[in-house]
Structures are given as structure tokens and as C-alpha cells.
């Protein structure tokens, strides 16, 4: 493919933060761009690596096991300013599961230790006594459009939003951020945090294209539009997953 346009993806800690099939989300980015003759260039960041400031249009951080997530939390501090500057400049960022916890101000573990986060999303997370596990269906609203988004959640953290970010959506079925508020995820400008995996993007191509659109806008301004895709298989899987979630409620 000799693409005229390229999206530059920065994948944070793929070796450690990959517990809920996060590579499915990356595959969706790559394939949906390829279908539109747009290239995807991936930079993987591991422990000790420094992100090149301003060189990426899209950032992704998935979930990990507790031990790995603790190591990443410490390591992220060196990249916090770069990631904040990228968010301020309108680059797209997606933080899933453990990712949303690390994107907030802090994560308080079960033994009371406070791990500082990036502080890009105005939220705090505290470990709960039980894990919130199961199908998760939400009505997500971004830029005035509301869509039903479906996936799976499995997290001990209880996330509470501050004043400056809004939830990604309202829980239709499942637990969401804390199992109480009915909120799921968080959005601030072009930054999305969510507990939804499954993975998130294959069954919710609307979100994938929203993020890719932001990424292209970051690099090329308003010049590049994403051609609509058929998404027939996506729609069938989306419907089937909502059906299963309904049966198990």
C-alpha cells in the first residue's frame, strides 16, 4: 500500500498492558485505516522508554495484571508531561480498563497505597472489595451523538469522576465505573477512558472511527475524511452481544 496519509499510533506498554485482548483494538485501527488506504505507523513504548513529544496522533493504553500495572504506573511519570501536551494538542487517546485508572489523578490500592496517575482525565480510582465482572452495555454520548456501545468489564477499581470530565456514557446494563453512579468511562476533549473491553473497538466501530477521525484531524486538519464502511459483520456481533447481555441480566 502506497498510502498518501499515515496515522502515527503510540502503543503504551503492549508487552505488559494486554490482559483483555487489547491487540484486537490495534487490529481494528490498522484494518479500518487500510480499508481507506491510510497507513498506520506503530511505536511501542516499554519500561524506561521516552515518548517522542508531538510525534503521534493516537495513543493507546490497555489493561494489565496488578503487578505489571504498578510497574507501569511508576514508569509513566516520565512521560506524563508529553502525554498531557499531546492531549492538549488534540491528539486522540484511548485508555481501556487499567488504562483509565492510570489516566486519572491516582489509584488507591486495596492496602491503601496511592499510585499517582497521569492526571489527564479528572478522576480518581479506589480498589473495591469485590470485582465488577460481566457484560456491560452503555449509551455513549460524544459530540452530541449517542450510540449503544457493548462489551465486557472485569475490574476491582471504583472510579469517580471529577468536575471537568463527563462520563463516556450511561450504563444500560452492567456495573460501569463504580457500580453505583450509572456512569461509565470518561471523556475529555479527544481523550476517552473506559472499562469496556471485549475488545472494545471491533463491535463498536463508531468509536473506532471517531478516534481515527480525531487522529487524522490532529495530523492533517480537516483535509481527510473517513469513507463510511459497510460494517455488516460488526452490526451482527453488536446485536448478538446485546442479546447475550440481556439474557444474563
Amino acid at each position: 500500500m502506497n498510502a498518501a496519509y499515515t496515522v502515527r499510533l503510540c502503543h503504551l506498554y503492549p508487552e505488559m498492558m494486554n490482559i483483555y485482548a487489547d491487540r484486537g483494538n490495534i487490529a481494528v485501527f490498522r484494518q479500518r485505516l487500510a480499508w481507506r488506504d491510510i497507513a498506520l505507523e506503530i511505536t511501542e513504548i516499554g519500561l524506561g522508554d521516552i515518548i517522542d513529544p508531538g510525534q503521534h496522533d493516537l495513543y493507546y493504553l490497555g489493561g494489565g495484571q496488578d503487578r505489571d500495572q504498578n510497574l507501569v504506573a511508576k514508569d509513566l511519570a516520565a512521560n506524563a508531561a508529553t502525554l498531557q501536551a499531546a492531549a492538549d494538542a488534540g491528539a486522540a487517546q484511548l485508555y481501556v480498563c487499567g488504562g483509565i485508572q492510570l489516566a486519572g489523578h491516582q489509584y488507591v490500592t486495596a492496602d491503601g497505597t496511592s499510585l499517582p496517575g497521569l492526571g489527564i482525565l479528572d478522576l480518581v480510582t479506589e480498589a473495591g472489595a469485590t470485582r465488577l465482572i460481566g457484560d456491560l452495555v452503555i449509551d455513549a454520548t460524544i459530540e452530541g451523538t449517542t450510540q449503544r456501545v457493548v462489551g465486557y468489564e472485569n475490574h476491582a477499581g471504583r472510579t469517580r469522576l471529577g468536575a471537568s470530565c463527563v462520563p463516556l456514557g450511561r450504563v444500560v446494563s452492567g456495573h460501569g465505573n463504580d457500580g453505583e453512579s450509572g456512569n461509565e468511562g470518561a471523556v475529555l476533549n479527544h481523550v476517552i477512558g473506559t472499562y469496556l473491553h471485549g475488545p472494545l473497538l471491533p463491535k463498536n466501530p463508531w468509536l473506532a472511527d471517531l478516534l481515527l477521525g480525531w487522529a487524522l484531524e490532529h495530523r492533517y486538519g480537516q483535509d481527510v475524511a473517513l469513507r463510511p464502511l459497510e460494517d455488516a459483520v460488526e452490526a451482527r456481533a453488536h446485536t448478538a452481544a446485546i442479546g447475550r447481555a440481556g439474557v444474563r441480566r
Binding site: 484486537g24 471485549g198 471491533p202 459483520v233 452481544a241 447475550r244
Partner: protein, 467 residues
């Protein structure tokens, strides 16, 4: 009272079968434990040689089958749960059915149930084979499970007569569990000719449990199993006492040479032809040899090693673990799809078959399958792409599979989707030509569904009459 509880529990199994509700292999255990919560310990107390427990993410059913044959030929009267559930209730059911006169209990145990089962069954030999990422909604994080097993082994070590541990030297997490312990029999695969280039995607056990540094793998065999060491401390793959020194894989099984210790002289080697396909089964075979060695040592009973080797070689694949069923002039091979590591091994086995491949994948998301279907994205399906003649997708979450293959760059024109397992089977068989084999990869409950369809059509006996 114990006898009455046993009678009622047995009757429930009989009733279940009469009503056509299934195999009735677990219900008696459920009823028994309801009536007598300590029944497991009560029955296990009658076992003269105590019990042998086999646990792992992958391979416990096959290894338990191999070991059942090996212990029986060695003359032990064995009670085992090879046909039933591997939770407490399944083991209770097995004891209820077969405890009479049995001197050894041989139990396949669910990873998460190991601690409670070990507490009531007086284990004399504990076989721990591997831990891979599996059903996170049910088992939780792998690290947590390793910690639980470590606590269990600590408790067992404090007992008056701690059990012998049969541990896989090639799994860094399992090896860490045996570090600085006595009574460990190590097994592994020494033949490195089947190594793959990299650790599997999203591999676990990448960090040293002793010091936290990243481990180095010099040889990767299955998932994260292989030859490894820590560059930062003295943790390294223990040298296995019992190992596979040479393996030749064939589409329908393997020739495997096993190094086995003798009491007095140097180790001997034995080569067997096994109908169990794939390198993952090489691990199951050496684990069974290692466990037989441990049992003989523990019970101080001399062993006819040739007889053990013979029955291990004769053991056919367990229910749905590579078993082959004839359907008129075609064949169907059932390869249970449980988790990324297991399916990656199934994919390797398929690639070992000659010619174009016809594949049926069935994905359910019920409790026994794991409700979270994310794991299909961690499977490396892509190597199948150039070899596929047809691919049929079924099960409750067939469309999730379709997405996985679509985003994996497969030719969607070759892929057919039919959630109903009976329809999916028809489509897949229709695409399979006479003389060819259809490879079916169903999740657990999808395999039960598929098996039911095959039984209804008269191709195979009901699953509970397997033994």
C-alpha cells in the same frame, strides 16, 4: 448416615440419566455435598494410599487419563474423575461411585479448586503442569492463582508427611513454586527442535518470581513453556529428572523418547508411538511418566516400566481432545478450544496435517466457556490463512468470531457463519470432500452441543458412556 447420603446422591444421578438431563456424572456429587458437606474428606480417608492430584490450565484431563492407565497397569486399584467434573462435586461423585475398595484416588482438579480439594483428599502426589491465561472472568489474574498455589504448597510442606511434587521445569511460574523445596520431581522437554521463534503473544511468566527481572527464554516450546533463566539472579530452569529427549510429531500423533531414572543404574530411554498429537501432548506424556515414577517412589512399590510405557502409548485422546469420529466417508476431529495457548497448539496441530484445511470453530460464552470472549483475539489464527479451503463459524458468539477473522485479514468469501451448531456442522461437512477431515474447534459447552448433534445422528455414543 453416610451410607444414606450416598444412596440418595446415587439415586439422583440415576434419575438425571433417566430423565435425559445429561450424563448424571456431577449431580450425585452436588447432592452428596449438600447432605454431607465433609463427604469428600470422609470418602478420601478410606483411600489407603491417599490421592494424586493433577492440575494445570491445559492438559489435566489428558494427563489424568494417561496416569489412570499407568497406575492401573501398575496394579493399583484407582478411583478417578476422568469422565466428570474437576470441581469438588465431580470428585465427590467419583468417590461415591468408585471408592469401594479403591486404594488410590486420582483426580484432575480445577486450578481454582485445588486448595480446597487438597485440604480434604490427603494428597500424596501433586502434579502441577502449567498456568496460562484463561477465563479471566472466572479465574482472575494468573499471578493471583500462582500466589494461591504457593500458599497451598507452603501449607502442604508443613504437614507431617508432605506430598511429592511433580512439577514442570519448563514453566517459570511452576518452577518458582518448587524452588527450595524437597520432594520435587521435575519434568520437561529437552528436545529443542520444535522451538518457535518468540514467546506467544500476551505471554505470561515473563518476569522472574524470585527477583522481578525480565526472564530470558533461550527456547520457546509452548506459550511461555521452554528453556529459561533469569539474567539477574540464580533462578533457572531446573534440570528435569524425566524428560522428552526426542519428539517427532505426525498429523495423528507422535513418536516420543522419554528419559526415565532407574533406582540403581543410569537413566534409561524409552520410545513410544502415541496417538496424541502436538507438543502440548508431549508435556502431558512426560508428566504422566514423571507422576508414575513419583507414585512408585511414594508407595515403595516396584514398577514395570515397560508396562507403564505400553499403556501410555495405547491411550487415545480424551473426549474432544483430538479424538476422531467417522461420518460416512468423512472424518471429524474434535479439538477443544479453551484458551489462547490451547488453541495456538491446536492451530499448530492443524498446520501439521497435509493439504487444504476445512475448519469449524464454535464459540459459546456460557459459564463453563468463560463469558468474556475477548480471548479469541489473543489466538494466533493467522497462520491458517493460506491453508484454509473452508471455514465455518458457529455458537452463541459466532459473529464475534467472524469479526476476529475479518480483522485478521481472512478472505470473508471463504467464511460461513451459522450460530446454530447443527446448521454449522451441516455447512462445514458439506464443504468437506469425501475422504477429507473436518477439524472442529469448539469451546467446552459448544463441544457438548456438537457431541449431542453427532449422537442424535448416530455417529458417536453419548459422552458419558465414553469410558
Amino acid at each position: 448416615m453416610r451410607r444414606l447420603a450416598g444412596f440418595i446422591a446415587n439415586a439422583s444421578g440415576w434419575l438425571s440419566r433417566r430423565l435425559g438431563r445429561g450424563g448424571g456424572t456431577t449431580l450425585p456429587g452436588v447432592v452428596l455435598l449438600k447432605l454431607r458437606p465433609h463427604a469428600l474428606a470422609e470418602y478420601a480417608a478410606d483411600l489407603h494410599h491417599g490421592s494424586i492430584l493433577v492440575s494445570a490450565t491445559n492438559g489435566k484431563t489428558t494427563t489424568t487419563r494417561l496416569l489412570a492407565a499407568a497406575t492401573r497397569v501398575a496394579g493399583y486399584h484407582v478411583v478417578t474423575n476422568t469422565e466428570g467434573s474437576n470441581l469438588e462435586r465431580g470428585i465427590a461423585a467419583a468417590l461415591l461411585k468408585g471408592a469401594n475398595g479403591a486404594e488410590v484416588g486420582l483426580f484432575e482438579v480445577d486450578e481454582a479448586a485445588l486448595t480446597s480439594v487438597a485440604a480434604s483428599t490427603q494428597p500424596q502426589v501433586v502434579v502441577l503442569m502449567n498456568l496460562f491465561r484463561d477465563q479471566l472472568d472466572r479465574y482472575g489474574e494468573l499471578e493471583t492463582l500462582v500466589d494461591k498455589w504457593r500458599d497451598l504448597l507452603d501449607d502442604l510442606a508443613a504437614q507431617h508427611e508432605p506430598p511429592m511434587l511433580v512439577l514442570n521445569a519448563d514453566d517459570p511460574n511452576i518452577a518458582a513454586l518448587g524452588r527450595d523445596r524437597d520432594n520435587v520431581v521435575w519434568f520437561g522437554v529437552d528436545d529443542t527442535s520444535h522451538a518457535v521463534a518468540h514467546l506467544a503473544h500476551a505471554a505470561d511468566a515473563t518476569m522472574c518470581r524470585n527477583c522481578g527481572a525480565p526472564l530470558e527464554h533461550t527456547v520457546v516450546l509452548v506459550g511461555h513453556l521452554g528453556h529459561w533463566h533469569c539474567p539477574n539472579c540464580d533462578a533457572t530452569r531446573p534440570s528435569p529428572t524425566i524428560s522428552a529427549t526426542q519428539i517427532a510429531l505426525t498429523p495423528s500423533g507422535q513418536h516420543i523418547t522419554v528419559r526415565y531414572p532407574t533406582n540403581a543404574g543410569p537413566p534409561i530411554t524409552m520410545t513410544i508411538d502415541s496417538p496424541l498429537p502436538g507438543l502440548h501432548n508431549s508435556y502431558n506424556i512426560v508428566a504422566a511418566f514423571a507422576a508414575s515414577w513419583a507414585i512408585a517412589a511414594r508407595t515403595q512399590r516396584p514398577q514395570d516400566v515397560d508396562a507403564v510405557a505400553r499403556v501410555i502409548a495405547e491411550t487415545k485422546p480424551a473426549f474432544g481432545r483430538g479424538e476422531i469420529i467417522s461420518i460416512d466417508d468423512k472424518r471429524i476431529q474434535l479439538l477443544l478450544a479453551k484458551n489462547p495457548t490451547g488453541v495456538n497448539q491446536n492451530v499448530r496441530t492443524l498446520l501439521n496435517s497435509p493439504g487444504e484445511l476445512h475448519v469449524l470453530v464454535l464459540l459459546n460464552d456460557r459459564t463453563a466457556d468463560g463469558q468474556d470472549v475477548s480471548w479469541i483475539w489473543d489466538v494466533d489464527w493467522e497462520p491458517l490463512r493460506p491453508r484454509l479451503a473452508s471455514l465455518t463459524l458457529g455458537g452463541d458468539r459466532a459473529w464475534d468470531l467472524a469479526l476476529r477473522f475479518q480483522y485478521g485479514g481472512f478472505d470473508m468469501d471463504k467464511i460461513k457463519v451459522a450460530p446454530d451448531p447443527s446448521n454449522a456442522l451441516d455447512i462445514a461437512l458439506n464443504d468437506t470432500l469425501p475422504g477429507q477431515t473436518l477439524h472442529a474447534l469448539p469451546t467446552y459447552t459448544a463441544m457438548i452441543d456438537l457431541r449431542r448433534v453427532l449422537t442424535q445422528r448416530g455417529y458417536t455414543a453419548a459422552y458419558w458412556s465414553d469410558e
